[in-house]
Subunit: 427 residues, 2 copies
């Protein structure tokens, strides 16, 4: 039942009154450089903040064996985070509404050379409507907004009238194993909302992602006899060329995926990292590079993994050096599927009303050619999973930032969504 207009106003006013505190909370999160494997301190902060709010607490580690057995599990590499997952459970006095999972990831990607930032990446900076910092948009603003929903409601003496499980996960940027562990732990909801920076749109579909590392090893010699050696760095380029051909081919398959028909280049291959050799005057005998490629929803990662193996094998056959030194492929991160939020769910309708009330505009949907943790709930629990959050620019780039006005609007939407989906009760 749509929310009473007076109550909606009251809730939005409470979000507004709480907003300065929400920004402070966001700043506190951004100050933690919670790169992969370095999320322990911020997860302890999150734990304390949840406990303070009177939620039932759970904290657990990712179970490598269980994740390996699950079709949605991604491989563990040496870099895999060992930080815990932190879950806070709000239980109402009377369970009258519909239950909800709210989830945010606390891991961020590396900041790169600090010199390329206008200001230090872990010192939150506000300039007009922009809030700058590594991880500010992706997704600490959204993460903090989960707490802000409860804090705003509390200001007016209310709380959700259903169980809300608030999940702070890691490994969203590299494997998706953190979200999967919440599923394995048995947490359920009748809907899921994940406040990723979606620009106040709901995500209709996304892609699956495969990560891989290719190692080229070779035969090093003094540069004076370079003709007898083989340059592993340049051999790597040959493989990359073949991978680009593979990317081009998979993009031609957009016709089979009508949801992506307006997305110009949905299947992006990225060569994200390279390292090879150690001396200008020695022919480099090793080169390692890290890649990411997307797959359409409905396709299995294994299909792409075989295609990558074929492309590398082809490059290997065509190059004398590689033929003698076959490159090694390691699946060192994501091997995940994409998902579709099927239109017509009651959860999406509730979000649509909340969005209309908070922003004054109708809710639209987006197609996001990136990995999203929402896949766990959409694929394996088959419950409506709403990916919805503020507007952000330069995620993964220098001077990452989000719009403060957008965050206030999207937090308002979330609060109204919770009010209607879960119902409210007096504290």
């Amino acid at each position: 039942m749509p929310l009473d207009a007076a109550l909606a106003d009251k809730i939005l006013k409470a979000v507004d009154e709480n907003f300065a505190d929400q920004i402070e909370f966001t700043k506190a999160l951004v100050r933690y450089p919670s790169r992969r494997g370095e999320e322990n301190a911020v997860q302890d902060f999150v734990f304390r903040e949840m406990k303070t709010r009177g939620w039932a607490m759970d904290r657990f580690h990712m179970d490598e064996e269980a994740i390996k057995r699950h079709p949605g599990g991604s491989p563990f590499s040496a870099e895999h985070s060992k930080a815990p997952i932190v879950v806070g459970i709000h239980r109402p006095k009377q369970e009258t509404g519909r239950s909800l999972i709210m989830q945010g990831h606390i891991d961020i990607v590396p900041e790169g050379p600090t010199a390329m930032w206008t200001s230090p990446p872990y010192e939150p900076r506000i300039d007009g409507d922009w809030f700058y910092g590594r991880g500010s948009g992706d997704m600490k603003a959204g993460h903090a907004s989960m707490f802000a929903v409860f804090d705003a409601l509390k200001r007016i003496g209310l709380q959700p009238a259903a169980t809300v499980t608030v999940q702070s996960v890691v490994e969203e940027e590299s494997t998706g194993n953190g979200a999967l562990q919440c599923h394995l732990q048995g947490y359920k909801g009748e809907a899921v909302i994940i406040p990723e920076p979606s620009g106040e749109k709901v995500t209709r579909t996304n892609v699956g992602v495969v990560w891989f590392q290719i190692e080229v090893a070779g035969f090093p010699v003094h540069v004076r006899e370079a003709g007898n050696g083989q340059n592993a760095i340049e051999a790597a380029f040959g493989i990359i060329k073949k991978l680009r051909e593979l990317e081009a081919f998979w993009n031609t398959r957009v016709g089979d995926n009508p949801l992506f028909k307006d997305t110009p280049h949905p299947i992006n291959l990225n060569i994200g990292k390279i390292k090879g050799g150690d001396w200008a005057s020695s022919v480099p005998a090793w080169c390692t590079f890290d890649c990411r490629i997307a797959i359409f929803p409905g396709e299995k990662p294994e299909q792409m993994m075989r295609a990558i193996e074929d492309a590398v094998a082809k490059a290997t056959r065509e190059d004398r050096f590689l033929a003698n030194n076959p490159p090694r492929i390691t699946w060192n991160g994501f091997t995940t599927e994409g998902y579709v939020l099927e239109p017509g769910s009651e959860a999406e309708a509730v979000l649509g009303r909340a969005h209309q009330t908070s922003t004054g505009t109708p809710l639209t949907a987006q197609v996001l050619p990136a990995y999203l943790d929402g896949r766990v709930y959409a694929l394996f629990d088959k419950i409506p999973t709403l990916n919805y959050g503020p507007y952000c620019e330069l995620a993964h780039g220098f001077d990452e930032r989000f719009s403060i006005a957008s965050l206030k609007r999207s937090t308002g939407t979330m609060a109204l969504f919770v009010a209607e989906w879960c119902g409210l009760e007096a504290i």
Copy 2:
């Protein structure tokens, strides 16, 4: 005057008798991982060994300002060694012979991944005629042989009858500034011998070398919008392609350099090292790679430096991304000329006789398309500079090794050369 045959026999026998000690000395040198900047410990060992032999000692640092002013100086980068140069001077009782500089470099290139070695690179290993270890051939075998010449002569109660300056230098693998500093310090000789692993040949000519680093900086974005970002790693490949064209062009100029007419590919470009990006799912915004290229003797490094700048500028003009983010070139090592050992010198004739006596074969000359410290003396002192030493394989590679039999022969040659060039006197 050619050496008396009986004396020559006596000297070669002494070299043979001393050889086990010489191998032990070589092992001691190889155990020091004296990579660039890490030569302090081994230089202290060398200092003690020189002092023990009663030589006058000198130890000094490279003078950055003086080296910068000198036309043979190479730029200092952050990686430049700060280790001292160690010089030991043998002065005879009566200065009756011709003076000599003997020089060896003690710096080595990185060993690369240890797993790619058959045995640990700093644990000397002998297998049949092969002596294995990083730096074994290039050039710790030759370095130790300078001491062996004196030790062998001492066994038969003799020493050189002229001043011999024995110089242990660093920075041979990266700038040539160590050898240049000896020149700046004022050490002179009527000939120079450097026992680099030349395969028992004398080096007729070598090349100059230019080192450079290219940094590509770009605009990073989340891979989902890869079309808006630009991949600095792949932009680097475009520049490398242009540099390979430049290399091909300079090799066509071999006609102007008749000494190189039988050297198939004298001007080698090497892409020795690369590093870029930090996350598989972020479009990499920076990539740095290190290169080395050769120049024919008689040409100035500045000529090649301008050609490199032009090639990079061309790649920059042809690429929208690079045009907006011009790459940066840093001259971070060698900017040195090649040299020619003019045929017909008395020093070479003496070496020829010594070689014939020690090995039973005539001395032949080689063309070496690599940097050699000999350039300092050939170019700036204009004295005959003999680059002559044992046979080595896989210098700069895994399982670097030298031939033990060859080392004994080349040490014999050196001892006979010293005997005839400097003359001998009773200790």
